[in-house]
């Protein structure tokens, strides 16, 4: 399938229904029903559902650009979460649940919990739904998948922040020229670009792991995206000066999410610990070998043994 055929209409849909004004309304607690209905009607919620079960049958890697667009547009509802939850239920052969669902990979820092109808618990192989107001035990086996989702959302928001910040640097003049002509600012924006690309590549590694990602793959994805989220947010605000701090300026819709998604489902240190543990238990292996091994390359005789 030509992904462009899906990405362009999805992008238009998001621009229509998730304008910054609409995002703020939902955040203020006004009704989300219209926005949610538009997602239901679009059919995109079933993008990851297998074709036999009536979905579009995309793999997580194929759907990655769609999920990134949710981050790019600061969508205030758990659309990516719901896409994943529906796919998991369809695979299990269960009735498709209605309404917004969130994946909760931890006991706190669950994004979109306030606007969800259900919380997904259990495991990717055996998902169960809990009412959003019931107390929900953390579901560690869902955490890798949830972390990959957050990494994808971060990568999309990072792209938008990059775009807003370069545009701002080209418009805002001080000392008689656009601040983007100042070398100090250019150097900061170069780092921002590097981090945005790193977040995207990291998230892509995660998405390649599919709906049942190994912990090591999720760790690479979420560690990379979370590290990037922190730096991207800091640089974007520094370049924007005071205006970036104001509520009415759109930057904060994105940078708030960058921080929120960084904290959700395990931060960079948490995932560094997971990957370190995986590496330790894999036995002595050169870094390059472990990286290939963790991503599924056949374990081969390793180079590191020459010491």
């Amino acid at each position: 399938m030509d992904m462009q055929e899906l990405v362009a209409p999805f992008s238009r849909l998001l621009q229509d229904i998730c304008s910054p004004a609409a995002v703020r309304e939902v955040e203020r607690g006004e009704s989300q029903a219209a926005m949610w209905q538009a997602f239901e009607d679009s059919g995109f919620l079933d993008a990851l559902v297998d074709e036999e079960a009536g979905g579009a049958g995309l793999s997580l890697a194929e759907a990655a650009p769609l999920i990134a667009l949710l981050g790019y547009n600061a969508v205030p509802l758990p659309v990516g979460d719901t896409m994943i939850a529906r796919a998991l239920f369809a695979r299990k052969g269960d009735q498709m649940p209605q309404g917004p669902i969130v994946l909760a990979g931890g006991a706190t820092f669950t994004p979109f919990a306030r606007v969800a109808r259900h919380v997904l618990a259990g495991s990717p192989e055996d998902p169960i739904l809990v009412g959003s107001h019931e107390s929900c035990p953390p579901a560690p086996s869902l955490r890798p998948l949830a972390a990959v989702l957050r990494a994808l959302l971060i990568s999309g928001a990072a792209d938008r922040v990059m775009e807003l910040t370069t545009a701002f640097a080209n418009e805002r003049s001080q000392f008689g020229k656009p601040i983007g002509k100042q070398q100090a600012v250019q150097q900061q924006l170069a780092i921002l670009a590097e981090q945005a690309v790193a977040a995207r590549i990291a998230a892509g590694i995660g998405a390649r792991g599919g709906l049942y990602p190994q912990a090591a793959i999720a760790a690479i994805a979420k560690h990379g995206a979370s590290c990037a989220a922190v730096r991207i947010s800091a640089i974007a605000h520094a370049v924007h000066g005071a205006i970036g701090i104001s509520e009415e300026f759109d930057l904060q819709l994105l940078t708030r999410r960058l921080h929120e998604w960084r904290l959700a489902d395990g931060s960079e240190s948490y995932w560094a610990g997971v990957l370190g543990a995986a590496r330790t238990s894999a036995g002595p292996m050169a870094s390059a070998d472990f990286i290939r091994f963790a991503q599924g390359a056949a374990a081969e005789k390793q180079v590191g043994a020459v010491s």
Binding site: T166, K181, A190, V197, L275, G276, P284, A286, S307
Partner: protein, 386 residues
């Protein structure tokens, strides 16, 4: 719109992955006796015999076409070979520059005669090249080079000037030099050309420069009335800048920009395993460095895919090099902090020496091949800011 949208996940073709056992066996043969601190010098490790052995086994100039002695394979093949060599800490300096830059440059811009003469020698590991770009007055500002090649009546060239920081000039057969062939340094990018200088020609002298680790890998090279034949010119007269830019995309994009400290990282990893250190700080440090390397490797593969598609990903290569060298520099900092924060733990002398070596040489990672600030300037231009 996504930033640098073309940088997307890619994967190594199976036929390239399949090369690993063979190259591993060859490497193991060579380096199993080398101590860690010698292996940590990989990039700088010069061993002409090893380079020739690699060449004979068909592992140099793999991406050159078969009719010129190459294997007719692509940048992905080189990725696998480089990854194996650096991961093991093999001495690559001998053939390194010819394999990565000079070969592709001659292939793209050289005449048919030049290709037939140089490329088979490069592929067999016989012709070793160095890069003559920097001069005492021209480091970051390459367009200001003053070394001149004056056209002569017999249509040859008369070369005068000086190059500096030329890695491996002492051991190389040829230098590809960026020189001024017309105009003056105020003409900037206009009037620059690339010439191949046989370093045995009369008038060429090479003086080693000792670096802060006590090694002497780079050198000053002086040209006094050196007579170059007409066919010393690579590519077109006056097109040197365009050619150098393309060459720098090769220089900056490879996996060598993420693996400079990997021997130290791996030696430290073995050390903590041997010590059975499983505390949270150690495990996180190990995991964090591994996770960063995994993303960088994927990014380097993404840039390699652009090269494989026949593009010249100058901006993307800069982006990846800057991130990669930052990681390479963080390794000795973090590993050093870790080891020294366990003062009661004995460490092997080799690991200790490797740490000191990499710590001292680490600043060079973000200098060689273009400094961090210059690369970020290139990225900023790519973002439309300049």
């Amino acid at each position: 719109m996504r930033v640098f949208e073309d940088l997307v996940l890619s994967s190594l073709p199976a036929e390239d992955e399949a090369l690993r056992p063979e190259i591993r066996a060859l490497i193991a043969d060579t380096i199993s006796q080398l101590p860690t601190d010698v292996r940590a010098r990989s990039w700088q490790g010069f061993d002409a015999a090893f380079s020739r052995k690699l060449g004979r086994a068909g592992f140099v100039g793999l991406s050159l076409p078969k009719e010129y002695g190459g294997a007719g394979r692509g940048p992905f093949t080189r990725f696998v070979i480089v990854e194996e060599l650096l991961s093991a800490g093999a001495p690559v300096a001998g053939h390194w520059i010819a394999d990565r830059q000079s070969g592709p440059l001659i292939l793209h811009f050289g005449t048919e005669e030049q290709r037939q003469f140089y490329l088979p020698r490069i592929a067999s590991g016989e012709a070793l090249f160095c890069i003559g770009m920097s001069e005492p007055g021209s480091g970051s500002d390459l367009a200001s080079v003053r070394t001149r090649a004056e056209p002569q009546d017999d249509s040859g060239w008369l070369l005068n000037g000086q190059k500096i920081w030329t890695t491996n000039a002492l051991h190389s057969d040829y230098m590809i030099a960026l020189v001024r062939t017309s105009g003056s340094s105020t003409d900037r990018q206009q009037g620059l050309s690339q010439v191949i200088v046989d370093l045995k020609l009369p008038g060429v002298s090479v003086r080693p420069i000792v670096d802060l680790t006590g090694d002497a890998h780079f050198a000053e090279v002086f040209f006094e009335d050196v007579r170059l034949a007409p066919d010393a010119l690579v590519g077109e007269e006056g097109q040197g800048w365009r050619q150098v830019t393309a060459e720098l995309a090769f220089e900056r994009s490879g996996p060598e920009r993420i693996y400079s400290s990997v021997v130290l990282l791996d030696a430290w990893t073995r050390h903590v395993e041997e010590q059975a250190r499983k505390d949270e700080a150690t495990v996180r440090l190990l995991g964090g460095l591994t996770a960063r390397l995994a993303v960088l490797r994927e990014m380097s593969l993404a840039v390699t895919a652009r090269l494989a598609a026949g593009e010249s990903p100058v901006v993307e290569a800069s982006l990846m090099k800057d991130l990669g060298t930052s990681f390479e520099q963080d390794v000795p900092e973090l590993v050093g902090d870790d080891l020294a924060s366990h003062p009661d733990e004995p460490i092997a002398a080799e690991l200790h020496r490797a740490l000191l070596y990499v710590t001292q040489i680490a600043p060079s990672f973000s200098l060689r091949g273009g400094t961090r600030e210059i690369l970020r300037g290139i990225i900023a231009r790519g973002l439309g800011l300049r």
